[in-house]
Symmetry: C3
């Protein structure tokens, strides 16, 4: 299983061209779209999202990760094996939280190159072929080395990292980092208290809960939390106990 | 073939996680996205859409249906076999029109539970595994019983139930319920007459026609009917003969 | 591999129903979404996009192409073999640039018809079955004849033909048609100069570059070019040397 985590959007040709490469090179592998709308050009927010969602997938899964605002510049291409899963993508912090939380991790700089490497679409021309080779049990040319690390990034990020289709606002906080009795203070100073589920609060009420992937998420029962509360990717939160 | 009918949106992780479950448990089954943008949180409108589109698929198809505003509450999970097709999803009316129109139907309450059942994502943790088991020819633990019915819902719904990518407005009316000579009166009092196809009316003109799945649909030739006529999901129609 | 090139949008039932047909008739073929958001109802702009992107795919690929504002009218259904690839879709100019650039091409009018041909969804009822039959190595009933041609359309189109997810504006110009020293003059009279990559210009600066499929594309480093420069599909450009 090759899982796609990108900021390409589902529209447009980018995901399709990557899948064509995966199909050509690893026809038996199943390509699964996890996020095509990861925080655009924002590897820091994306790193918290990726670490939380990747943990749900079984060992052996290969994550093809392209949130890559520096494409065409000097950032290196990486392939990281962490807790039995592979992560392929740019060295820009996208894998920082995966690395920090892994029991075992080995980082490699990819030295393999396609004969047709475009300057602007390494997802198609570099990362997808490498993910496909790994899925086939092949090992493309790569060199083990330490990854560039981002020590200033917190273990849990008290910011909104994703707004979903329902308007729910996902944070970079794991539920274990916030006591159930604590409230989240959002930028407009409002305090949002905890509830176990949507149906535990009246319609129209805001609450936070542990979502199905272990992240703290701010929601409104039968409403759109992001719109109602003025939340966007990057909105900062504080925890009030 | 497992057909997905949800209000998850195509973006975000929800459809991808469901497909990962389907792939793990039923690797030979093909997962097809039918609607990822069924009427959000609106099982009544969705029920008319589902019944109209499901009828097009061959017997043996399994429909994985998640329009589930009551997730985490007390509504039961169902697996219904109707006219040779399976429908898996919440007991909230979503299957009312399928049941009403079926020649033969058998309803089951699903008693199978995952060891990792989240409170908020039964699509991934309950309905997808059950759909996959059915696709594998397995029968998860379930108990035959009568479904909760919604007798007040009409056989054909004179409301808009879906706005498509082109701005066409689909109704919950089957074409057989409206005489070709009849007009539809929309909320702004305008009367919309019948035409056979788009090219049968001048550019910019509104008309209704029988769409390719047998529903009455309001369209504007080379225009966006919903925008031009002020139609949205829930807009009520009357039939003028 | 069957590649989908449509203006259906990813939402809604249209792509899913086509994929169900492909899966039923050609279960071994892989269906890849290339564009579901090709220029809506605009075969001329779409023709330049299709020709540029199709060239990237290997011979043997089958393109299922539905940008078909005249569906239900008199335009013929075509199946074209060009340079070892098949193109299935309506005769409305969508294949003009593929034909013009092909070394070898053979056009066929499709005479095969489904017993259940709807008036409004030939993608599902006619073009998808034909694409699936070709993928299976079958030859549906079709008659070789010359295609209707569009001689007034230029070899390279100095217009915007697509706005992508990042707000980048793709033109119908191949990079070989514009000297690197030339600028593009956009409708607001601004001149946009060439750069090799995003990182070659300061953040917020506009430039044009050869994109990963050989088209001239207008972009803003870490910005949304279409919004910043007021570009939309159909915006005309001139080349200033």
């Amino acid at each position: 299983m090759i899982v796609l985590f990108t900021d390409f959007g589902l529209a447009g040709p980018y995901t399709g061209q990557m899948k064509a490469v995966l199909h050509e090179r690893a026809p038996q592998a199943e390509a699964i779209d996890l996020f095509a709308d990861a925080p655009a050009g924002n590897p820091r927010a994306a790193a918290y999202l990726l670490a939380a969602y990747a943990a749900w997938f079984p060992p052996g899964t290969i994550f093809l990760c392209v949130v890559d605002p520096g494409v065409g510049g000097t950032r290196a291409p990486l392939a990281i094996e962490a807790d039995g899963r592979w992560y392929v993508g740019p060295e820009n912090g996208l894998f920082e939280l995966v690395l920090r939380r892994a029991q075992t991790a080995q980082c490699h700089e990819i030295s393999w190159r396609s004969q047709n490497l475009s300057a602007s679409f390494h997802g198609r021309d570099l990362f997808a072929p490498v993910a496909a080779m790994l899925a086939q049990g092949e090992r493309p040319a790569m060199l083990a080395r330490a990854a560039r690390r981002f020590p200033d990034w917190p273990d849990d990020l008290a910011e909104i990292v994703y707004i979903d289709h329902y308007g729910n606002a996902l944070t970079g906080l794991r539920a274990g980092a916030v006591a159930p009795a604590a409230s989240l203070v959002i930028p407009n100073k409002m305090r949002v208290a905890h509830a176990a589920t949507f149906s535990a609060v009246p319609e129209g009420s805001a609450f936070w809960y542990e979502n199905s992937n272990g992240l703290v998420e701010i929601a409104v029962n039968r409403g759109r939390a992001a719109d109602a509360l003025g939340l966007a990717i990057g909105s900062r939160l504080s925890i009030a106990t």
